[in-house]
Symmetry: C3
């Protein structure tokens, strides 16, 4: 039944594997810098690695919900592409942050760009869906007629 | 295809924007109190702001999953209303917590009320759906016949 | 409309209640060890309890997304069973971690097993769905014909 949204599912699974990878890298950093659980403070590199993963975790549900809303209500292909951009930006962010606190910024800004576009697409899709459902007026259908 | 659940999507997008806003307020508080990443300790007001955002983040997936289950399996309009109540309670919670540790309580309790009702609606919807699917017995249809 | 995925919804609701329970146990531990918010450091038992809940929170969106992808694209019953295994493993993990840092390991490894299987099922379902949609080739249908 969910076959129609397979691109969103593929991007979601990819991002979930990436998140698991980040958790694993924190574990590696714990061993390297001898920071045993439950401690979360220690060598600066460990603290940056930990915060990088924490930040990815904080944003993850926001990413997933905007990805699926943009993909279901606006356009699946476009949302999936933005999702791939987000995954790439998280990669840049994580490794940048591990290297230095300043190194996180380039990836972070790219993340925000992807997220903001997903929010905009999602909002456009929701507005269109509202008009369609409650006022029987569909922008997309009008555009389809024009072109 | 997801057009039928547009109210849930709208509440979800609203709550995602709110979460982004909270993350941004933590960033502002970092600058105000000169707490540079990856540090998460410093001025008490910063620590309260940070914990407020962390708590919102912890509850966010719980909120989303109960919202969509209550909305899909019980009633979309009711779930969306409880979702709006939750977003309002998070607003109260966040600004209350930034002001003082005690200030978080009123919003927090309202959050719990919204969440508990979403869980109850979701559970009722699931039980009904189970009965309908596996025992061919639908409480909702019986109620519809009565009224 | 979501009636077909009621088992996934039931496991999701169960796991959401479990997460709420963990948050509540952290609150209890705060009171027991007199660690007042926003502090997150104090007695070792409190710190372990807090980290246990944090880890559950970090993994929760990963669990939900892989559960629903595996359940929608591969097989709902199998995914729901793995979901129940995950919930049980989190229970073992949490209480193990509260008792001692080493006590978390058995539950954690079981968690990973459940998660890895969900990822594999999800990936298999997505690949099958891709082949079906874009190449009109369905492994599942071929298997159905064979048996």
């Amino acid at each position: 039944m969910a076959g129609g949204l397979v691109l969103l599912a593929a991007v979601t699974l990819l991002s979930a594997i990436q998140q698991c990878h980040f958790v694993w890298l924190v574990g590696q950093s714990r061993r390297k810098h001898k920071v045993m659980p439950p401690a979360v403070t220690g060598a600066p590199e460990f603290e940056r690695t930990f915060r990088a993963q924490q930040n990815c975790t904080e944003f993850y549900p926001l990413f997933l919900s905007t990805l699926w809303i943009a993909g279901s209500f606006f356009n699946q292909e476009l949302a999936a592409l933005l999702g791939l951009l987000y995954v790439y930006a998280r990669y840049k962010y994580f490794y940048g942050y591990v290297a230095s606190a300043k190194g996180r910024l380039a990836g972070f800004h790219l993340n925000l760009v992807a997220l903001i576009f997903l929010v905009i697409l999602g909002a456009a899709g929701i507005v269109n869906s509202f008009l369609d459902e409650y006022l029987d007026f569909s922008i997309r259908k009008k555009l389809h007629k024009l072109f």
